[in-house]
Symmetry: C2
Subunit: 175 residues, 2 copies
DNA sequence: ACTGAAGGTTCGGTCACCGAACCAAGGTGT
DNA sequence: ACACCTTGGTTCGGTGACCGAACCTTCAGT
Protein backbone atom coordinates (compact mmCIF):
# COMPACT_ATOMS: atom_id res chain seq x y z
CA UNK A 1 0.00 0.00 0.00
CA UNK A 2 3.02 2.12 0.18
CA UNK A 3 1.60 2.93 3.54
CA UNK A 4 3.69 2.86 6.66
CA UNK A 5 3.61 -0.85 6.76
CA UNK A 6 2.67 -3.12 3.95
CA UNK A 7 0.58 -6.22 4.17
CA UNK A 8 3.78 -8.20 4.41
CA UNK A 9 2.45 -11.29 6.05
CA UNK A 10 -0.34 -11.71 3.55
CA UNK A 11 0.15 -14.26 0.87
CA UNK A 12 -2.79 -13.24 -1.18
CA UNK A 13 -3.56 -11.63 -4.51
CA UNK A 14 -6.14 -9.41 -2.89
CA UNK A 15 -3.55 -8.02 -0.52
CA UNK A 16 -1.17 -7.53 -3.43
CA UNK A 17 -3.81 -5.64 -5.31
CA UNK A 18 -4.61 -3.48 -2.31
CA UNK A 19 -0.96 -2.59 -1.92
CA UNK A 20 -1.23 -1.00 -5.33
CA UNK A 21 -4.69 0.50 -5.41
CA UNK A 22 -5.74 0.40 -1.77
CA UNK A 23 -4.75 3.88 -0.74
CA UNK A 24 -7.23 6.62 -0.34
CA UNK A 25 -8.32 8.24 -3.63
CA UNK A 26 -6.47 5.77 -5.82
CA UNK A 27 -9.48 3.86 -7.09
CA UNK A 28 -11.39 7.08 -7.64
CA UNK A 29 -8.58 8.33 -9.83
CA UNK A 30 -8.80 5.13 -11.85
CA UNK A 31 -12.58 5.50 -12.04
CA UNK A 32 -12.23 9.03 -13.39
CA UNK A 33 -9.67 7.81 -15.90
CA UNK A 34 -12.17 5.23 -17.10
CA UNK A 35 -14.71 8.00 -17.43
CA UNK A 36 -12.33 9.79 -19.75
CA UNK A 37 -10.58 12.21 -17.42
CA UNK A 38 -6.96 12.60 -18.42
CA UNK A 39 -5.61 15.89 -17.17
CA UNK A 40 -4.29 16.94 -13.82
CA UNK A 41 -6.66 19.82 -13.47
CA UNK A 42 -9.69 17.80 -14.43
CA UNK A 43 -8.92 15.16 -11.83
CA UNK A 44 -8.37 17.95 -9.36
CA UNK A 45 -11.68 19.72 -9.75
CA UNK A 46 -13.73 16.61 -10.23
CA UNK A 47 -12.36 14.72 -7.25
CA UNK A 48 -11.78 17.58 -4.85
CA UNK A 49 -8.53 15.92 -3.88
CA UNK A 50 -5.59 17.83 -2.38
CA UNK A 51 -3.09 18.73 -5.08
CA UNK A 52 -0.17 17.03 -3.41
CA UNK A 53 -2.10 13.81 -2.98
CA UNK A 54 -3.19 13.84 -6.61
CA UNK A 55 0.38 14.34 -7.77
CA UNK A 56 1.52 11.45 -5.59
CA UNK A 57 -1.25 9.16 -6.85
CA UNK A 58 -0.63 9.95 -10.49
CA UNK A 59 3.03 9.29 -10.05
CA UNK A 60 2.45 6.04 -8.19
CA UNK A 61 -0.11 4.80 -10.69
CA UNK A 62 2.27 5.63 -13.50
CA UNK A 63 5.09 3.80 -11.75
CA UNK A 64 2.85 0.75 -11.33
CA UNK A 65 1.98 0.74 -15.00
CA UNK A 66 -1.67 1.57 -14.49
CA UNK A 67 -1.49 5.01 -16.03
CA UNK A 68 0.78 6.22 -18.75
CA UNK A 69 2.00 9.79 -18.94
CA UNK A 70 1.85 11.02 -22.48
CA UNK A 71 2.75 14.31 -24.07
CA UNK A 72 -0.22 15.55 -26.01
CA UNK A 73 1.06 18.93 -27.12
CA UNK A 74 4.51 20.33 -27.46
CA UNK A 75 4.05 23.98 -26.82
CA UNK A 76 3.38 24.59 -24.10
CA UNK A 77 4.40 21.09 -23.08
CA UNK A 78 1.38 19.32 -21.64
CA UNK A 79 1.01 15.75 -20.50
CA UNK A 80 -2.05 13.63 -19.99
CA UNK A 81 -2.50 10.46 -18.00
CA UNK A 82 -4.06 7.59 -19.89
CA UNK A 83 -5.02 4.17 -18.59
CA UNK A 84 -2.90 1.24 -19.71
CA UNK A 85 -4.29 -2.21 -20.29
CA UNK A 86 -3.44 -2.96 -16.67
CA UNK A 87 -5.52 -0.02 -15.57
CA UNK A 88 -8.42 -0.84 -17.86
CA UNK A 89 -8.42 -4.30 -16.31
CA UNK A 90 -9.67 -2.74 -13.09
CA UNK A 91 -13.06 -2.12 -14.68
CA UNK A 92 -14.66 -5.34 -13.39
CA UNK A 93 -13.48 -4.52 -9.88
CA UNK A 94 -14.88 -1.01 -10.01
CA UNK A 95 -18.08 -2.29 -11.55
CA UNK A 96 -18.52 -4.82 -8.75
CA UNK A 97 -17.73 -2.25 -6.11
CA UNK A 98 -20.14 0.25 -7.60
CA UNK A 99 -22.96 -2.24 -7.84
CA UNK A 100 -22.42 -3.24 -4.24
CA UNK A 101 -22.42 0.37 -3.12
CA UNK A 102 -25.58 1.19 -4.97
CA UNK A 103 -27.42 -1.93 -3.91
CA UNK A 104 -26.57 -1.63 -0.25
CA UNK A 105 -26.10 2.06 0.42
CA UNK A 106 -27.46 4.15 -2.39
CA UNK A 107 -30.90 3.83 -3.77
CA UNK A 108 -31.02 5.80 -6.95
CA UNK A 109 -29.47 4.85 -10.24
CA UNK A 110 -26.78 7.43 -10.87
CA UNK A 111 -25.46 6.22 -14.19
CA UNK A 112 -26.41 3.64 -16.76
CA UNK A 113 -23.84 1.52 -18.50
CA UNK A 114 -24.96 0.09 -21.79
CA UNK A 115 -23.58 -1.94 -24.62
CA UNK A 116 -22.97 0.74 -27.21
CA UNK A 117 -23.77 -1.60 -30.08
CA UNK A 118 -27.27 -2.52 -28.95
CA UNK A 119 -28.17 -0.23 -26.07
CA UNK A 120 -28.75 -3.04 -23.60
CA UNK A 121 -27.88 -2.23 -20.02
CA UNK A 122 -24.95 -4.23 -18.77
CA UNK A 123 -25.39 -7.12 -16.38
CA UNK A 124 -23.55 -7.33 -13.07
CA UNK A 125 -20.37 -8.64 -14.67
CA UNK A 126 -20.29 -6.19 -17.53
CA UNK A 127 -21.94 -8.60 -19.92
CA UNK A 128 -24.62 -7.82 -22.48
CA UNK A 129 -27.52 -10.18 -21.96
CA UNK A 130 -28.79 -9.60 -25.48
CA UNK A 131 -25.54 -10.26 -27.30
CA UNK A 132 -24.35 -12.82 -24.80
CA UNK A 133 -20.87 -11.39 -24.59
CA UNK A 134 -18.74 -9.53 -22.12
CA UNK A 135 -18.60 -6.00 -23.42
CA UNK A 136 -15.12 -4.53 -23.92
CA UNK A 137 -14.63 -1.38 -21.89
CA UNK A 138 -14.38 0.88 -24.92
CA UNK A 139 -17.79 -0.34 -26.08
CA UNK A 140 -19.51 0.65 -22.87
CA UNK A 141 -21.75 3.66 -23.17
CA UNK A 142 -22.18 5.69 -19.99
CA UNK A 143 -25.36 7.71 -19.54
CA UNK A 144 -26.60 9.78 -16.64
CA UNK A 145 -29.35 8.22 -14.55
CA UNK A 146 -32.24 9.80 -12.70
CA UNK A 147 -30.37 10.05 -9.42
CA UNK A 148 -27.59 12.22 -10.80
CA UNK A 149 -27.48 15.89 -9.94
CA UNK A 150 -28.27 17.67 -13.23
CA UNK A 151 -26.29 20.76 -12.30
CA UNK A 152 -23.00 19.78 -10.73
CA UNK A 153 -20.77 22.57 -9.50
CA UNK A 154 -17.63 21.45 -11.24
CA UNK A 155 -17.22 21.70 -15.00
CA UNK A 156 -15.94 18.16 -15.36
CA UNK A 157 -19.08 16.88 -13.72
CA UNK A 158 -21.08 18.83 -16.26
CA UNK A 159 -19.20 17.36 -19.18
CA UNK A 160 -19.81 13.90 -17.75
CA UNK A 161 -23.57 14.45 -17.98
CA UNK A 162 -23.39 13.83 -21.68
CA UNK A 163 -23.60 10.20 -22.75
CA UNK A 164 -20.18 9.01 -23.77
CA UNK A 165 -18.14 5.88 -24.04
CA UNK A 166 -15.74 4.84 -21.34
CA UNK A 167 -12.14 5.80 -22.02
CA UNK A 168 -13.21 8.34 -24.60
CA UNK A 169 -11.40 11.54 -23.63
CA UNK A 170 -13.36 14.44 -22.22
CA UNK A 171 -14.15 17.14 -24.66
CA UNK A 172 -12.25 20.06 -23.33
CA UNK A 173 -14.84 22.70 -22.87
CA UNK A 174 -14.30 26.35 -23.58
CA UNK A 175 -13.64 28.48 -20.57
CA UNK B 1 -14.34 6.49 4.62
CA UNK B 2 -14.63 7.66 8.13
CA UNK B 3 -11.31 9.23 7.32
CA UNK B 4 -10.52 12.84 8.01
CA UNK B 5 -12.55 13.96 5.13
CA UNK B 6 -15.06 11.92 3.27
CA UNK B 7 -15.54 11.82 -0.46
CA UNK B 8 -18.27 14.41 -0.03
CA UNK B 9 -18.28 15.84 -3.49
CA UNK B 10 -18.52 12.47 -5.14
CA UNK B 11 -21.89 11.43 -6.41
CA UNK B 12 -20.98 7.90 -7.14
CA UNK B 13 -21.70 4.43 -5.87
CA UNK B 14 -18.05 3.56 -6.01
CA UNK B 15 -17.22 6.42 -3.69
CA UNK B 16 -20.04 5.38 -1.39
CA UNK B 17 -18.69 1.88 -1.29
CA UNK B 18 -15.19 3.10 -0.58
CA UNK B 19 -16.43 5.19 2.30
CA UNK B 20 -17.51 1.95 3.90
CA UNK B 21 -14.80 -0.52 2.92
CA UNK B 22 -12.04 1.72 1.64
CA UNK B 23 -9.99 2.03 4.77
CA UNK B 24 -6.81 0.13 5.27
CA UNK B 25 -7.34 -3.51 6.36
CA UNK B 26 -11.10 -3.41 5.93
CA UNK B 27 -11.33 -5.52 2.79
CA UNK B 28 -8.81 -7.97 4.17
CA UNK B 29 -11.00 -8.46 7.22
CA UNK B 30 -13.93 -9.18 4.92
CA UNK B 31 -11.78 -11.56 2.90
CA UNK B 32 -10.82 -13.44 6.05
CA UNK B 33 -14.46 -13.57 7.07
CA UNK B 34 -15.30 -15.14 3.72
CA UNK B 35 -12.54 -17.66 4.33
CA UNK B 36 -14.28 -18.64 7.55
CA UNK B 37 -12.42 -16.59 10.14
CA UNK B 38 -14.82 -15.43 12.84
CA UNK B 39 -12.93 -14.71 16.01
CA UNK B 40 -10.98 -11.68 17.13
CA UNK B 41 -7.85 -13.63 17.83
CA UNK B 42 -7.92 -15.47 14.55
CA UNK B 43 -8.21 -12.24 12.60
CA UNK B 44 -5.41 -10.87 14.71
CA UNK B 45 -2.85 -13.57 14.09
CA UNK B 46 -3.78 -14.15 10.49
CA UNK B 47 -3.75 -10.52 9.42
CA UNK B 48 -0.96 -9.22 11.62
CA UNK B 49 -3.08 -6.16 12.21
CA UNK B 50 -2.69 -3.90 15.26
CA UNK B 51 -5.22 -4.83 17.92
CA UNK B 52 -6.73 -1.37 18.17
CA UNK B 53 -7.22 -1.18 14.43
CA UNK B 54 -8.85 -4.59 14.33
CA UNK B 55 -11.25 -3.61 17.09
CA UNK B 56 -12.15 -0.44 15.23
CA UNK B 57 -12.69 -2.28 11.94
CA UNK B 58 -14.84 -4.98 13.48
CA UNK B 59 -16.96 -2.36 15.18
CA UNK B 60 -17.31 -0.27 12.03
CA UNK B 61 -18.15 -3.28 9.87
CA UNK B 62 -20.73 -4.35 12.41
CA UNK B 63 -22.22 -0.88 12.48
CA UNK B 64 -22.46 -0.91 8.68
CA UNK B 65 -24.26 -4.22 8.70
CA UNK B 66 -21.48 -6.12 7.00
CA UNK B 67 -20.58 -8.24 10.00
CA UNK B 68 -22.85 -9.42 12.75
CA UNK B 69 -21.62 -9.94 16.27
CA UNK B 70 -23.05 -13.12 17.64
CA UNK B 71 -22.69 -14.82 21.00
CA UNK B 72 -21.56 -18.36 20.43
CA UNK B 73 -21.05 -19.48 24.00
CA UNK B 74 -22.37 -18.18 27.26
CA UNK B 75 -19.67 -19.00 29.70
CA UNK B 76 -17.25 -17.51 29.29
CA UNK B 77 -19.15 -15.11 27.07
CA UNK B 78 -17.60 -15.22 23.62
CA UNK B 79 -18.70 -13.48 20.49
CA UNK B 80 -17.90 -14.19 16.89
CA UNK B 81 -18.20 -11.96 13.87
CA UNK B 82 -20.14 -13.42 10.98
CA UNK B 83 -20.74 -11.95 7.55
CA UNK B 84 -24.22 -10.74 6.79
CA UNK B 85 -25.78 -10.93 3.36
CA UNK B 86 -24.42 -7.45 2.74
CA UNK B 87 -20.94 -8.66 3.58
CA UNK B 88 -21.24 -11.80 1.48
CA UNK B 89 -22.23 -9.58 -1.42
CA UNK B 90 -18.67 -8.27 -1.48
CA UNK B 91 -17.46 -11.59 -2.85
CA UNK B 92 -17.58 -10.52 -6.52
CA UNK B 93 -15.60 -7.41 -5.70
CA UNK B 94 -12.93 -9.35 -3.85
CA UNK B 95 -12.86 -11.96 -6.57
CA UNK B 96 -12.30 -9.30 -9.23
CA UNK B 97 -9.65 -7.59 -7.17
CA UNK B 98 -7.84 -10.85 -6.49
CA UNK B 99 -7.86 -11.85 -10.13
CA UNK B 100 -6.49 -8.49 -11.11
CA UNK B 101 -3.77 -8.71 -8.48
CA UNK B 102 -2.70 -12.16 -9.54
CA UNK B 103 -2.79 -11.45 -13.24
CA UNK B 104 -0.85 -8.24 -13.03
CA UNK B 105 1.40 -8.55 -10.03
CA UNK B 106 1.58 -12.12 -8.80
CA UNK B 107 2.45 -15.03 -10.97
CA UNK B 108 1.66 -18.13 -9.04
CA UNK B 109 -1.77 -19.48 -8.32
CA UNK B 110 -2.20 -19.23 -4.57
CA UNK B 111 -5.65 -20.68 -4.18
CA UNK B 112 -8.17 -22.42 -6.35
CA UNK B 113 -11.84 -21.67 -6.12
CA UNK B 114 -14.08 -24.40 -7.42
CA UNK B 115 -17.73 -25.20 -7.71
CA UNK B 116 -18.15 -27.66 -4.87
CA UNK B 117 -20.81 -29.62 -6.73
CA UNK B 118 -18.71 -30.46 -9.78
CA UNK B 119 -15.13 -29.44 -9.00
CA UNK B 120 -14.88 -27.00 -11.91
CA UNK B 121 -12.67 -24.01 -11.30
CA UNK B 122 -14.64 -20.79 -11.21
CA UNK B 123 -14.54 -18.33 -14.08
CA UNK B 124 -13.65 -14.68 -13.61
CA UNK B 125 -17.11 -13.76 -12.39
CA UNK B 126 -17.54 -16.65 -10.02
CA UNK B 127 -19.47 -18.68 -12.54
CA UNK B 128 -19.17 -22.39 -13.22
CA UNK B 129 -18.58 -22.92 -16.91
CA UNK B 130 -19.72 -26.52 -16.70
CA UNK B 131 -23.00 -25.89 -14.90
CA UNK B 132 -23.54 -22.53 -16.54
CA UNK B 133 -24.54 -20.83 -13.32
CA UNK B 134 -23.12 -18.29 -10.94
CA UNK B 135 -22.01 -20.27 -7.94
CA UNK B 136 -23.40 -19.14 -4.58
CA UNK B 137 -20.64 -18.26 -2.16
CA UNK B 138 -21.39 -21.11 0.20
CA UNK B 139 -20.91 -23.58 -2.67
CA UNK B 140 -17.43 -22.36 -3.46
CA UNK B 141 -14.68 -24.73 -2.47
CA UNK B 142 -11.34 -23.14 -1.67
CA UNK B 143 -8.18 -25.18 -2.15
CA UNK B 144 -4.53 -24.28 -1.76
CA UNK B 145 -2.62 -23.77 -4.98
CA UNK B 146 1.02 -24.41 -5.85
CA UNK B 147 2.14 -20.91 -4.98
CA UNK B 148 0.99 -21.06 -1.38
CA UNK B 149 3.54 -21.46 1.38
CA UNK B 150 2.92 -24.96 2.76
CA UNK B 151 4.14 -24.08 6.24
CA UNK B 152 2.77 -20.71 7.28
CA UNK B 153 3.88 -19.34 10.60
CA UNK B 154 0.46 -18.57 11.98
CA UNK B 155 -1.95 -21.31 13.00
CA UNK B 156 -4.87 -19.80 11.11
CA UNK B 157 -2.86 -19.93 7.92
CA UNK B 158 -2.24 -23.61 8.57
CA UNK B 159 -5.90 -24.34 9.06
CA UNK B 160 -6.62 -22.55 5.79
CA UNK B 161 -4.41 -25.01 3.92
CA UNK B 162 -7.15 -27.58 4.12
CA UNK B 163 -9.73 -27.42 1.36
CA UNK B 164 -12.90 -25.91 2.72
CA UNK B 165 -15.95 -24.05 1.59
CA UNK B 166 -16.18 -20.30 1.85
CA UNK B 167 -18.04 -19.09 4.94
CA UNK B 168 -17.62 -22.44 6.62
CA UNK B 169 -16.21 -21.63 10.06
CA UNK B 170 -12.63 -22.52 10.86
CA UNK B 171 -12.21 -25.67 12.81
CA UNK B 172 -10.79 -24.43 16.06
CA UNK B 173 -7.60 -26.31 16.45
CA UNK B 174 -6.30 -27.58 19.76
CA UNK B 175 -3.61 -25.48 21.35
C1' DA C 1 -5.16 -17.52 45.02
C1' DC C 2 -2.75 -18.21 40.75
C1' DT C 3 -2.57 -18.86 35.90
C1' DG C 4 -4.04 -18.59 31.31
C1' DA C 5 -6.98 -17.44 27.37
C1' DA C 6 -10.00 -14.19 24.94
C1' DG C 7 -11.01 -9.73 23.81
C1' DG C 8 -10.27 -5.77 24.21
C1' DT C 9 -8.35 -0.34 25.76
C1' DT C 10 -4.57 2.98 26.41
C1' DC C 11 -0.44 5.33 25.10
C1' DG C 12 3.28 7.74 22.73
C1' DG C 13 5.42 8.06 18.22
C1' DT C 14 5.32 8.30 13.20
C1' DC C 15 3.49 9.01 8.84
C1' DA C 16 -0.31 9.95 5.52
C1' DC C 17 -3.57 13.28 4.48
C1' DC C 18 -5.44 17.98 4.75
C1' DG C 19 -5.96 22.93 2.85
C1' DA C 20 -3.56 26.92 1.67
C1' DA C 21 0.23 29.15 -0.07
C1' DC C 22 3.89 29.37 -3.14
C1' DC C 23 6.54 28.34 -7.52
C1' DA C 24 7.75 27.83 -12.51
C1' DA C 25 7.29 27.39 -17.42
C1' DG C 26 5.06 28.79 -21.28
C1' DG C 27 1.60 31.44 -23.69
C1' DT C 28 -1.33 35.96 -24.40
C1' DG C 29 -2.82 40.72 -24.20
C1' DT C 30 -1.26 45.60 -24.48
C1' DA D 1 8.73 44.81 -22.48
C1' DC D 2 5.69 43.82 -19.02
C1' DA D 3 1.84 42.03 -16.62
C1' DC D 4 -1.09 38.32 -16.25
C1' DC D 5 -3.18 33.78 -17.02
C1' DT D 6 -3.18 28.66 -17.35
C1' DT D 7 -1.29 24.29 -16.24
C1' DG D 8 0.95 21.42 -13.27
C1' DG D 9 2.99 21.01 -9.85
C1' DT D 10 6.01 21.58 -4.68
C1' DT D 11 6.23 23.22 0.11
C1' DC D 12 4.52 23.85 4.65
C1' DG D 13 2.34 23.45 9.15
C1' DG D 14 -1.47 21.08 11.44
C1' DT D 15 -4.48 17.07 12.29
C1' DG D 16 -5.64 12.53 12.65
C1' DA D 17 -5.02 7.52 11.26
C1' DC D 18 -2.05 3.83 11.99
C1' DC D 19 1.80 1.61 14.40
C1' DG D 20 3.67 -1.68 18.19
C1' DA D 21 3.80 -2.45 22.96
C1' DA D 22 1.90 -2.50 27.31
C1' DC D 23 -1.87 -2.86 30.17
C1' DC D 24 -6.66 -4.24 31.69
C1' DT D 25 -10.92 -7.18 32.49
C1' DT D 26 -13.63 -11.27 32.65
C1' DC D 27 -14.07 -15.84 33.25
C1' DA D 28 -12.39 -20.94 33.68
C1' DG D 29 -9.50 -24.31 35.52
C1' DT D 30 -6.70 -25.95 39.31
Amino acid sequence: MALGKDYATQECSIARALEVVGERWTLLVVRDALYGVRRYNDFLVHLGIPRAVLAARLQALTAEGILEKRRYQQSPPRDEYVLTERGIALWPTLRALGLWGRRHFGEAQLRYFRHAACGTELGPYGECALCGTVVPVEDVLMEPGPGLDPHPADPVGRVLLKPKRLLEPLETEPA
